[in-house]
């Protein structure tokens, strides 16, 4: 059930995603053609390093407070007097650097994941629980959520994952029933969490630059369920990203047998009219069970072909922040039975559609419905980093009307060659830099073309071969894997819902790595792409600077990958290349003997390169003309249409 559980707490506030944007154009990875102005803020005339070249990658909770809590008995309260958890703060880790938001590759920017993000619940007296967000990426990204915004600021997505290593403070539980129930209901030391994020401000001239709105829900995690999606009922628009008329995007729900409740996650589903998340008015909205699978989206329904289950009070002020967009509908036995076996639908009274006004037997029209046949397939982890010669396990899940499918075949295939991904707008400075094709050679990634579920799930091994540097200036290759059940059409799956794999090039660590041949080519690229580091702290392309900061770099390059300080932040360096860097740092070009015995230089705060990073003060006529995710998605969907898939 995950977070979509009668026992849950909801929070609302803001987030900061101070992502770096120099790496948003894949062509900036070409060291030979890299220009200094690629580290500058974009102007009207030149995209330069896009809209936040000095981003740190930091991903932070900002002013997030618990707004409401739900209990096992299905009741819901949002008054502080009723449960001490209400009003508490959700914050990141107490004792380390901020988490980082990381794309897997410039050629796949639609699966950003938080790494090293702590999640803590704080009362005035201190920490009530704390743990670690496991690095699952966002899903269900769409670009037309806010009807009064454009591009990235109109976009919205959800991050679902587990909080690992959760520790509760006993004293903090005394005054909170929800926290006691949450701990009781959770397996081991894990909780389930779902964030919905929207209203992002990528305008460097704005006071709220790099901030956005966050709505979150935390619930119990049950052993054996997926971490990063709801294994239940899947609602899908008939085509594209959102349904006709009501403009509702993909979302999930489930039937809870214990409490006889239908739970829907509308945190990311409904269009909004502002950055706070005020839903757009689509009239009376309710949920019901369709009589059969033939009743399509935008079809009028009556009491003959729809069994109403309940209404959705999304028009209530602050509904989204208060409820986290989770709707809980208690069901009668008859309703529960029907809902277990037939497709669910949201219906709304669209004023322009026959039968929609509630006249006669009309209950409205289908705003969005469950997938055809109630089929759902999920896969996790959604993102894999595989070094040549190693493998990674992928788990596939299959369900029909929320029931796990046994002995069900799941088909997998590579998308194959995809040209032209990850570039920005045309510009003379980058137009002559080739954009590498994705997805080839297909032979460098292997996995079975079918898998058969047992108890609703199947594990397959993704095995990395050696792509042998097909992308030239970029390590390894990116692959997209399509997975689906036989008979499952495109419309039942979110258009970006692929398993994404970065297979790294084979690399043998030299016995004696050298700066010129081995180290510099790698560090130069990081230096180019991340001016916050190279201009603000250590110029990684400068051998002397690297040597002077050898100790702290050894520390950063030897952290576990989950650590927020792991270098490189992008986590795109293969293990053998990382070992090579560490070998060189341990004995730079065999010169360690020269400096052996020399005293360490004492720590000196504030040291930094003589050349400053470009200051990101926008020009007076600054206009944010580029939007990363929007542009990336546009390119990808365009390539898909060209390829006819």
């Amino acid at each position: 059930m995950a977070f979509l559980n009668p026992i849950r707490l909801t929070f609302a506030g803001q987030f900061q995603a101070d992502v770096s944007t120099v790496n948003n154009d894949v062509r900036h990875y070409d060291d030979a053609k890299f220009q200094p102005n690629f580290q500058d803020l974009q102007t009207k005339k030149n995209p330069n390093g896009w809209w936040n070249p000095t981003g740190s990658g930091a991903y932070r909770f900002i002013n997030c407070r618990v707004t409401g809590v739900g209990y096992a008995d299905g009741s819901w309260v949002n008054d502080k007097a009723q449960d001490a958890a209400i009003g508490m703060t959700i914050a990141g880790a107490a004792d380390r650097t901020a988490g980082k938001l990381v794309d897997i590759d410039p050629q796949w920017q639609l699966a950003s994941a938080p790494w090293g993000l702590g999640v803590r619940l704080l009362s005035a007296a201190g920490q009530v629980f704390g743990g670690e967000y496991k690095n699952n990426p966002f899903r269900d990204l769409w670009f037309s959520r806010n009807v009064n915004a454009t591009n990235d600021s109109a976009a919205s997505s959800t991050f679902q994952s587990v909080i690992e290593g959760v520790v509760f403070d006993e004293a903090g539980l005394a005054d909170s029933r929800v926290l006691r129930e949450l701990r009781e209901a959770s397996s081991g030391d894990r909780l389930s969490i779902r964030l919905a994020t929207f209203g992002y401000d990528g305008d460097a001239s704005s006071p709220s630059f790099t901030l956005g709105t966050m709505i979150g829900t935390i619930g119990p995690y049950t052993e054996g369920e997926p971490e990063s999606f709801v294994f239940g009922r899947r609602f899908a628009p008939a085509s594209g990203f959102s349904s006709y008329g009501a403009n509702i995007t993909y979302f999930s729900g489930l039937l809870d047998g214990a409490s006889r409740t239908l739970l829907l996650d509308l945190s990311n589903a409904l269009q909004i009219t502002d950055n706070r998340g005020t839903p757009a008015d689509i009239g009376v909205l309710s949920v019901g069970v369709l009589a059969d699978d033939s009743i399509a989206e935008n079809t009028p329904v009556t009491t003959d072909n729809l069994l109403p289950l309940g209404s959705i009070d999304y028009q209530r002020p602050d509904w989204l922040a208060d409820t986290g967009g989770v709707v809980a509908i208690p069901l009668e036995d008859e309703q529960f039975e029907a809902a277990s076996q037939r497709p669910l639908a949201l219906v709304y009274q669209a004023p322009f559609n026959p039968g929609a006004t509630g006249e006669g037997d009309g209950l409205g029209v289908v705003a969005i419905r469950e997938t055809v046949g109630g089929l759902f397939a999920g896969a996790e982890p959604a993102v894999h980093r595989i070094d040549a010669g190693t493998s990674s396990e992928l788990t596939l899940w299959a369900a029909r009307y929320g029931q796990p499918l046994d002995a069900q075949q799941v088909n997998l295939r590579q998308l194959g060659r995809i040209p032209g991904q990850g570039a920005g707008t045309s510009n003379p400075q980058v137009d002559d830099i080739p954009i590498p094709d994705m997805g080839v050679p297909e032979t460098a990634l292997s996995f079975p073309s079918t898998a058969t579920t047992e108890g609703g799930r199947a594990a397959v091994e993704l095995v990395g071969g050696n792509p042998d540097n097909p992308r030239g200036y970029l390590d390894g290759q990116m692959y997209l894997i399509d997975y689906r059940l036989p008979g499952q059409g495109n419309a039942s799956r979110q258009p970006f819902d692929f398993v994404v794999v970065h297979v790294r090039d084979a690399y043998e660590v030299p016995d004696r790595p050298t700066w010129t041949a081995d180290v510099q080519p790698i560090l130069q690229q990081f230096s180019n792409l991340y001016p916050i580091m190279s201009k603000g702290f250590i110029d990684l392309s400068d051998r002397a600077a690297v040597l002077a900061n050898r100790d702290i770099l050894q520390l950063a390059f030897s952290r576990p990958i989950e650590d927020p300080n792991y270098m490189p932040v992008t986590r795109d360096l293969s293990e053998p290349k990382r070992q090579m860097l560490l070998a060189w740092l341990a004995d730079p070009d065999g010169e360690l003997a020269d400096s052996a015995g020399a005293e360490a230089e004492p720590v000196q705060p504030g040291h930094r390169p003589a050349v400053a990073p470009p200051i990101t003060t926008p020009e007076p006529d600054y206009a944010a003309t580029l939007d990363s995710k929007t542009q990336f998605a546009h390119n990808f969907l365009h390539a898909g249409r060209r390829a006819g898939s």
């Binding site: 914050a91 702290f537 360490a600 000196q604 504030g606």
Partner: protein
């Protein structure tokens, strides 16, 4: 000269067991820390690529204050106490007196770098009891603003009293768990930050704190051969490096010039609090992020000195985050003013993290 309340010296002298010294050593930890925010604020106010000599001077002193704080923490653990760092009261409110300070003696704030700030405040913090009168090319034309109250003690006397008391207690005063001691040659030479395992180690550690700050009565140099803090700051004020000369007293501020280009210093808000910046402003977002990182840094240092020495590496990472955040803050305009954001060094457990 930093003057302190005489009762603090009395407390040290009246100690009958090691535990009686814990509050005094805790005060020493707080005092050594308290100089770091003003020094770092001045340091961060320097525009990148400008005033590199001044930045080197302030950065090197700030780095040694971090060393001194670490030595004081090692001392606390060595005599069986527990350093208390992760605490809102650990941070003084700026502007104001430093911990232990006589209230009227010196007001320390968080300001951009100017020679006047270094002369009035930083040199006063670091002033020896008997400064050596070293000639300058020309009269500085500046006077110490601090007026000495008639009854005061000095920080030098305070540390001397602790040394005397430790000697009085004898070698048995070192009762702490050696595993709590922090020493890592990657960050400080073992000659400066070493485990305090014996009474001699304790006395040597205190000497380093005092001599790196004040020098000795005979020389402006510390035992490591570096110009001590007071004279290092004086180099910045007088605009010349201290060099050895054949005439008395043997040194003069007559070496290489130390320019301070005012165009190379950000005009940051003096003595700011995060709440001063408009709620919906980039300056506020960055100040909150800075304070969040600073608070987490104190938490991390607390863990480091309370049994988790491997947390030191995370503390270093937090210092990098602190610096990178400050560097953005100081070039971020504060709406409605012609000034830029300043770090505010406030405890904020719930701030952006």
């Amino acid at each position: 000269m930093l003057t302190i309340q005489p009762t603090l010296i009395e407390a040290v002298r009246n100690a009958s067991v090691a535990a009686d010294l814990y509050p005094s050593v805790q005060s020493a930890i707080e005092l050594e820390h308290s100089t770091i925010p003003p020094y770092l604020t001045a340091l961060f106010s320097i525009k990148q690529g400008y005033n590199s000599e001044a930045a080197q001077i302030i950065g090197s002193v700030a780095g040694e204050e971090m060393l001194h704080m670490s030595i004081a923490c090692n001392l606390m653990n060595a005599i069986g106490g527990c350093p208390d760092i992760d605490n809102p009261l650990f941070i003084p409110s700026y502007p104001g007196p430093l911990p232990m300070g006589v209230h009227s003696s010196l007001t320390v704030g968080l300001e951009k770098l100017t020679r006047k700030l270094v002369y009035d405040v930083f040199m006063t913090i670091e002033e020896p009891e008997t400064p050596i009168d070293i000639p300058v090319g020309q009269a500085a034309g500046l006077q110490l603003l601090a007026t000495e109250p008639p009854n005061y003690a000095t920080i030098g006397e305070f540390y001397a009293a602790i040394k005397e008391k430790l000697i009085e207690f004898g070698p048995g005063v070192i009762t702490g768990d050696p595993a709590l001691q922090i020493a890592d040659p990657r960050w400080y030479p073992l000659t400066e930050l070493f485990p305090i395992l014996t009474l001699e180690d304790a006395l040597r550690g205190i000497d380093i704190i005092v001599e790196q700050g004040e020098g000795t009565r005979e020389s402006p140099m510390d035992p490591q051969g570096q110009v001590s803090h007071y004279y290092r700051f004086a180099e910045l004020v007088y605009g010349r490096r201290l060099i050895a000369v054949p005439t008395e007293p043997g040194w003069a501020y007559a070496g290489a010039p130390i320019p301070l280009d005012p165009a190379g210093v950000w005009n940051i808000c003096p003595d700011a609090k995060a709440i001063d910046y408009p709620e919906n402003s980039q300056a506020r977002v960055l100040a909150d992020a800075f304070n969040g990182a600073y608070t987490r840094l104190l938490g991390c240092l607390h863990q480091t000195f309370n049994g988790q020495p491997d947390r030191l590496s995370m503390a270093l990472s937090l210092m990098v985050e602190l610096q990178l955040t400050a560097q953005k803050l100081v070039c971020t305009p504060v709406p409605g003013t012609d000034m830029f954001g300043a770090p505010t060094f406030e405890y904020n457990a719930a701030a952006a993290n």
